[in-house]
Symmetry: C2
Subunit: 147 residues, 2 copies
């Protein structure tokens, strides 16, 4: 079963405390939006979404919060082509992405062998691997069927 929202909010709370910062509703609201998101969101999209529950939130808060959450590794971002960054909640397990060049859909996947292979490649070059991002670009099943 997937982690519940409450757990992420708790994580945020202890993170904030650990850093000697103060709690804020805005950060919780942004995290909540990311939790419910069905896809990767741009800062602007997150802004619009949070506005529905808090009409006075400012875009700057979105940016500040995303920067904070990304630094603390609670969210991660992906960007491709000429589009800006898109954010997703870090749900623990690492995964990679397939990006449909027609509809923009992002499909997540995880492949054990791919992870292993990367370690191997890094080792060969004496490169200390911290993280990676594999983006596969192409046409998704649905778009192929549409011609």
């Amino acid at each position: 079963m997937d982690k519940e929202l409450a757990l992420y909010l708790d994580e945020l709370k202890s993170l904030v405390k650990k850093r000697g910062l103060k709690h804020s509703h805005q950060r919780e609201q942004i995290l909540t939006v990311l939790f419910h998101a069905k896809k990767h969101l741009t800062p602007e999209e997150i802004y619009q979404e949070v506005k529905k529950i808090n009409s006075t939130i400012g875009l700057a808060t979105i940016y500040r919060t995303l920067a904070f959450l990304e630094k603390e590794e609670m969210v991660s971002s992906i960007s491709f082509g000429s589009e800006g960054k898109k954010y997703e909640l870090n749900r623990g397990e690492h995964h990679d992405h397939m990006i449909c060049l027609k509809c923009g859909k992002i499909i997540e996947f995880f492949n054990e062998e791919l992870e292993r292979l990367q370690e191997e490649i890094a080792k060969k070059q004496d490169f200390k691997l911290i993280t990676h991002q594999m983006n596969m670009y192409g046409i998704c099943k649905e778009c192929q069927n549409q011609g």
Copy 2:
């Protein structure tokens, strides 16, 4: 032996002709700078470099030319973190990147098995793979030795 500059310039010429466009020194100058580059360059860096041989070139021309060359697949771009796009000449063979988070160096590599594995992963999801980008982030050999 690597392809010579003259061959890239010829390629550019025939490409321009094929598209019914006109030859220009600026495009050749930009391509030449990319050819001699030892690393991935930002538009601004390319601008500064071309300026050394053509002091009147405009930044807009750099952007327009890069967009053209990328669309025609003579150059490709990579972007990571909060930094903007960086460009490199497409020297034919596909490759992936290791990016040092300390010094920013970009190490290129090619791995046969990685290519094969991706095809396999894509096929599993009925995803029609067109291209991919594997970015490995970590610390390069030199930076590790510096502590």
